[in-house]
């Protein structure tokens, strides 16, 4: 186990538990991707705009996965689905790494 770290100054009277922090981050991510993203600027991004200005935007090929139901973040659920898929993939990867890392190191934690 890592060394206990206590914050000396302005320690919160009630320490926010880890699960609460995790749920809060998830809710914020879902809110941003599912709702706030509707108000995102739909203008071309910095690279697209540069490509348009300099005249090489048309060299972009058609996208191989443009047949995906969520291509270009279409539909009201695209953001929610994306957040959950990324969470599962990245979460599983890091969980596996930690699991295997611990056993490879002979459980020296």
């Amino acid at each position: 186990m890592s060394a206990p770290v206590e914050t000396g100054e302005r320690t919160p009277s009630r320490r926010v538990t880890l699960p609460r922090v995790l749920v809060a981050i998830l809710l914020v991510a879902l809110f941003l991707a599912g709702f706030v993203s509707r108000y995102a600027d739909s203008s071309p991004d910095g690279l697209e705009k540069t490509a348009e200005k300099l005249g090489f935007a048309d060299t972009a090929g058609p996208h191989h996965t443009s047949g995906s139901p969520f291509a270009d973040y279409a539909g009201p659920w695209a953001g929610i689905v994306g957040v959950l898929v990324v969470l599962v993939v990245a979460g599983a990867l890091t969980w596996l790494l930690r699991h295997r890392g611990a056993s490879a190191a002979g459980g020296a934690d």
Partner: protein, 231 residues
């Protein structure tokens, strides 16, 4: 800054794919040292948060938008190696599920928006930590400065890749100034979002922030010394 298929020629795309693959392999090894009771549960959510934030394009001047890339924020929250894995996951899912960023450009995108922003963001953050006072309140600011620099550097690296393997014959100095001009502004947005998000976690649980650990450990010692002197 998601690069589509076709902007860079095949040899360049293969080369960036190899470099990005090597960076991911190194990160798979390095992340094992970073992943512990605190960072492991956080890593998947940091990736999800970066994905969500990348959907939020903000305006940066006439008819142009930009979004967070996320290297600095992820590196400060869960460590640089884990951050590369988080961002690579984001770009993979965006490419396969959302047709955002070309499949042949996946290596390019991981290299530009993942590895570069993590390396620049983290190195800047650590450099600032060594020269500035060890105060937990400075961590969000240091992360934000790392974020600010990471975006224009990634833009310049794109120009470098385009110089090597760009398919169109365009003046590189114009490409460089245009890319840099836009991405300095996007970098400011990146810095603001990074500052707010890191501040939020530092204010409730600073011990969960990977980049704040040295500061917290150091301050512990200082406080004990102070107590002994007072006693």
């Amino acid at each position: 800054m998601h690069v589509p298929d076709g902007f860079l020629d095949a040899p360049t795309s293969i080369a960036t794919g190899v470099v990005a693959g090597a960076a991911v392999l190194v990160s798979l090894k390095g992340a094992r040292r970073e992943l512990d009771d605190r960072t492991a549960p956080l890593a998947g959510l940091v990736a999800a948060f970066v994905f969500a934030t990348q959907m939020l394009n903000f305006p940066v001047g006439a008819g142009t938008s930009g979004h967070l890339l996320g290297g600095a924020i992820a590196a400060v929250l869960v460590g640089p190696f884990t951050a590369v894995l988080c961002l690579s996951t984001v770009f993979l899912v965006q490419c396969l599920l959302f047709a955002d960023g070309g499949i042949t450009a996946l290596g390019t995108n991981i290299l530009l928006m993942g590895v570069t922003t993590v390396v620049v963001g983290w190195c800047t953050f650590r450099a600032l930590q060594t020269v500035m006072p060890r105060r937990i309140s400075l961590v969000p600011l240091q992360a934000a400065i790392g974020a600010l620099l990471s975006v224009p550097v990634a833009a310049l690296l794109f120009v470098g890749l385009y110089a090597v393997g760009g398919v169109a014959d365009i003046p590189l100095d114009t490409l460089a100034t245009t890319m840099l001009g836009v991405h300095v502004l996007i970098g400011i947005g990146e810095a603001v979002i990074t500052f707010l998000a890191v501040s939020a976690i530092v204010s409730v649980r600073p011990d969960l922030v990977y980049g704040a650990r040295r500061v917290l450990a150091k301050r512990d010692l200082q406080i004990r010394t102070g107590d002994e002197v007072a006693a």
